[in-house]
Amino acid sequence: MLDQRQKIIGEDTVLFEHIWKTGKGFYITVSILGALVLLGLYAYITQYRTGLGVTGLSRQIFWGVYITNFVFFIGISHAGTFISAVLRILKAEWRRPISRASELTTVFILMFGVGSVLIDLGRPDRMLYAIRYAHFRSPLLWDVCSIATYLTVSSISLYLALIPDIAMLRDLGGKREWFYRILSLGWRNTESQHRRLERAIGFVSVLVIPVMITVHTVVSFVFAMTIQPLWHSAIFGPYFVVGAIFSGVASVIVVMAVLRKAYHLESYIKPIHFNNIGIFLMAMTLLWFYFTFAEYITIVYGNDPVHMAIFWSKISGKFSPLFWLHFTLCFVIPLPILAIKKYRTIRGTVIASISIVLGMWLERFVIIVPTLTRQRMPIQGAYYIPTWVEWSILAGCISLFMLLYTLFTKVFPIVPIWEVREGREKAAATVAARITSYMPETGTDLNLPSPGGRG
Amino acid sequence: MYDKSKIIPALVIFLGLATYPIWHNTVSGKARYVPKPELPTDKAKKECVEPKTFIRVNHKTLLEDWKFSVVRNGIRTYQASNKKAYTISLNRTCMNCHTDKTKFCDQCHTYMGVTNKCWDCHIYPKQLSPGPLAMRGP
């Protein structure tokens, strides 16, 4: 019995430990997060009972923090898929230890994206009317469809890669064996099961990429389909997708750093991971800047007074502090950190990532709110200061996300053990074979004429 | 069966507690309570838009249909089965006879634990009294 346990655990004790061992830190984290969730819940109950008047929203600026959260959370959810699916397709071996952490981010944060819209409704009791009386000309319904698809596909993708690990936990026995037995779907670790699983994961990975791009494109369409100044822009689809991957990858770096520290995964999540993702993040920083530049230069050069009014309110008007703060956080701070190799350490990439995550929340805010201050007519009383209710709900959402994440790691391993092992056992040989296949053919049977006849 | 001596008394206690409201109400006589919606006494107001039996079962769908008819189709008269035409209006037709919803609608709704949101927006005539009835519309 002990032998079998030893065989299953092997040299990866650390990866199981966070499920079995519950330290003081866990309880402290859970109680702090739980308290914040309760605060958010209290804020929502207050809003539900008295109406949206408890927020800072007004007749003029009727969308604010909640819609910002919606776009922001859905943006974050893009990285998980991106990192795990794209790297899987590209056969990047270093993705193995981090793929589950990023997929989990996707699945959990996506729920809060959906939740934010529901929180924003004036009559949440009627939310199902959107399905009962669905009007498919409304971009909001496109969102409903694409987000539902995305949530389904990314949950499947997460679950598929979990099955072999669940089976391992089942074989280890213990109190929760019945639970793992149900979820492992009869996984016996046979050759044919492996082949099928690989095929299924490969299929889902390919499927999820177009879905992911659709999701954020459609989220941007909520704004781009209106005729409001600075929303009605053809560039919004790709601009939002780039911003989504940008903020999402940054948040995955933060998640990785936290997991590494909290669960002692130093030998699995290494500086090289931060370095590799950091380089990608730098490319995204530049791409984000390119899109932002393209968006605004078109406005400025066109010089349409309706658009320019909003533009100036961002550049030098009342939204300028927020605009320049978001620009600094998204570009000025992260770019040098990520570009200079000396700074692209774990600490450096984490600092850059936190800056980007904050900056991208502000970016969504700066896209949504200024447009509402003057829709073709300067409006009186267009000011917006979010109230405690909105901040509490934001804090509650983020805390609940972290809480769910923490609880998940109490039940399932956060590093995909079987994938890491597969990498250890087979990857080197596969990669070597792949590299050989790229190389120009050499060998004695190829009688190439030697150059210059010197041989 | 294991632990017979514990399980059976516990089951009896549980059932007793779970059915307590029924016992309590039977003993106190509340179970025999029958809601009594107050009908208008005025002779002219004796006839409803449809027969009593129909209204009793279908008043909910009838009101839903009326709502849909006025708001979405713009049809404001109802051809009743008794060949009469009625103006479709909760306020002006229904509540013209049943002036007080607390004495009519609520009688059964409260008894059955049904809540409806009609009166969040619509106004029944008695609601505005005491005090002068607010301005008469056109």
């Binding site: 008295t50 109406g51 949206l52 008047g53 929203l57 007004s58 007749r59 003029q60 009727f62 969308w63 819209v117 924003d120 409704l121 004036g122 009559r123 009627r126 939310m127 009317y129 959107a130 009386y133 669905a134 009007h135 498919f136 000309r137 409304s138 971009p139 909001l140 909520v222 389909m225 209106t226 005729i227 007074p305 829709q375 073709r376 007519m377 300067p378 009186q380 009383g381 | 709502k67 708001v71 979405r72 189709n73 713009g74 049809i75 404001r76 306020n91 002006r92 949101k117 969040d120 927006c121 619509h122 106004i123 029944y124 005539p125 505005l128 009835l133 607010a134 301005m135 519309g137 056109p138």
Partner: protein, 258 residues
Amino acid sequence: MQFDRRGFLKITGLTLLGLSAKPGWEVFSKIDQPEPSPMAESLAKIRWAMAVDLKKCWSAKEGCRDCIDACHRIHNVPNLGTLKEEIKWTWTEPYEKVFPEHELEYSEENHRDKPVLLLCNQCDDPPCVKYCPTRATWRREDGIVMMDFHRCIGCRYCMAGCPYGSRSFNWRDPRPFIKKINPEYPTRTRGVVEKCNFCVERLAQGLIPACVEACKEKALIFGDLKKPDSEVRKALQNRVIYQRHPELGTKPKVYYIL
């Protein structure tokens, strides 16, 4: 023919995909199917419109609010007393804000600050209708853009879609803020959007809109555009007329005569 499970699933999937092609096409093609209504035919013979004669309006004593008060009284529009949660069906804005495209700097008459009455434009191609996820707002065949308070979920996307700012949202329960409730028209609950409805409930009784009736200067002219001899058609004849932002293609049906 023999089916295994995979084959069955494949065929089912393809069938579903095929069946969804037509509804999918209808969604994205431009034809907006009107809601089937038995009244459609008789309503389609009418096109309600309003003209605002600005000169007449400005001849009233300063600060005249007769039309606005009548509208808000009849429709139980609350007065919340703050700009933040303001609800308005009709209101005024200075001329230069309403028509920013008009050159006023060198024009002789100084009507830059004169009030212009604003209300829902009852567009022929209303943007708000497209955005509503539940069809709580839609266009009737006689041109009135309707609002179904029973169905509104309060997402406020119509407000984002309306380029005229004609829509208001109920940030809290409006009832305590209505001075005198008119029992003939419902109030609203918190969390729904509302706007001018061209007094559809009065039109059904053969009356003209409340604001038109209330105007002592006869500056508001209401009628059926499809009738050549209607008052509104006469008022528009041989006059310079403006609409708000006609370049947006919404085809507003509230005209301003100067």
